[in-house]
Symmetry: C2
Subunit: 215 residues, 2 copies
């Protein structure tokens, strides 16, 4: 089955569903309805059913989804059944915060994280060789060979805006297909390369809408 | 006209449109088509027209939108025509990174930011009184009175997970209606209070989908 055409907004909701399932105890909740799953994930039951139908996943009419089956299925769809190695470039304040944050998250019960940051890169030689939350910092010059050696398939960019395009291009050239970009700059992604922008300004601007009393 | 029922996903796209318009020079592009606006914002032209129609904003058939009018309209819809004061709680690595990041963003040309972080709070007395990127750090005990005094209408939470619920509740009790939460914990928001969760794990999990070759 081709899944190439699944809209990105659908893909972005799957981890939400997965989180709901991760937080359930399958022993006490062997089955979950689309209504319950939707409520916990913040979407309608219809949306849940439509999203999952993209992947040929259907619940039992009037019953729901088998919790542990759906959970395994979502992990497979998202490729989280495999080990996914993540690299981080730019160990400034934000990079350090993410390394520590991820270290905490990896303790999430029941999550069996296959997804973890296993290497960080920085151009500052004084940082190189150090570890933060168990992740070693390498000189950025070693990035191309380490991307291949460590099989890094997602890169988090926490470099300054002016450094981001060159780092991005170098990662792409070495086969990285997925990026989480925190640098305040647009990156032109070639076909087959996915860039998610983490943009605090956009978040704040949409929140501004809710500060006003709407009539 | 009631705008209460506008879906959050629509509100989240408006800042994207606004950014496209901010980056245009209205002198050289007095008019923009929904197709062009959509392309630059990464959505379809139909989505652009539907989103804007929620607010009674319609382009001229076969022509497009007047760039500067649409820009002013979007700013008004998002409440960005007013000054919006933002506070930040928790000046660790992440909090510091955000303060510095925002300071850079505020230099974005043509943006006339009405939205800015004007106060930060921390429980560590040694940090209090200091400034980061021009933003003063206050003891968290002063937060309730300063929320009212400085009219803080959005709060950014960069505190540890265990501290977040109490800080959140205190902000809500003092009238804050919009939150950007970076703490890895769910916050139960009462009616009329909007919480956006900045969640790196969800981002990475959806990116994992793109690391696999889909057939």
């Amino acid at each position: 089955m081709s899944t190439r055409k699944v809209p990105d907004v659908v893909i972005r909701r799957l981890p939400l569903y997965l989180r709901v399932l991760d937080e359930l105890d399958a022993q006490f909740s062997p089955i979950i309805s689309s209504r319950e799953l939707g409520e916990k994930a913040g979407v309608t039951s219809g949306q849940v059913r439509k999203d999952l139908s993209f992947f040929g996943v259907f619940g039992k009419q009037g019953v729901g989804y088998y919790t542990s089956t759906l959970r395994a299925e979502l992990r497979r769809i998202l490729s989280l059944h495999r080990v996914i190695n993540v690299g981080l470039v730019g160990v400034g304040n934000l990079g350090q915060a993410l390394l520590r944050y991820r270290a905490n998250k990896q303790k999430r019960p029941g999550a069996e994280e296959g997804l973890s940051i296993i290497a960080a890169f920085d151009k500052d030689k004084r940082k190189c060789g150090q570890q933060i939350a168990g992740v070693k910092i390498y000189p950025v010059e070693q990035m191309p060979e380490l991307i291949r050696e460590l099989k890094l398939s997602i890169m988090i960019l926490t470099v300054p805006a002016d450094a981001a395009p060159a780092v991005f291009e170098q990662c792409v050239r070495n086969g990285v297909k997925a990026f989480l970009n925190f640098a305040p700059v647009k990156l032109a992604s070639p076909a087959g390369v996915r860039v998610h922008h983490a943009d605090v300004t956009l978040e704040l601007e949409s929140l501004a809408y809710y500060t006003d009393e709407k009539e």
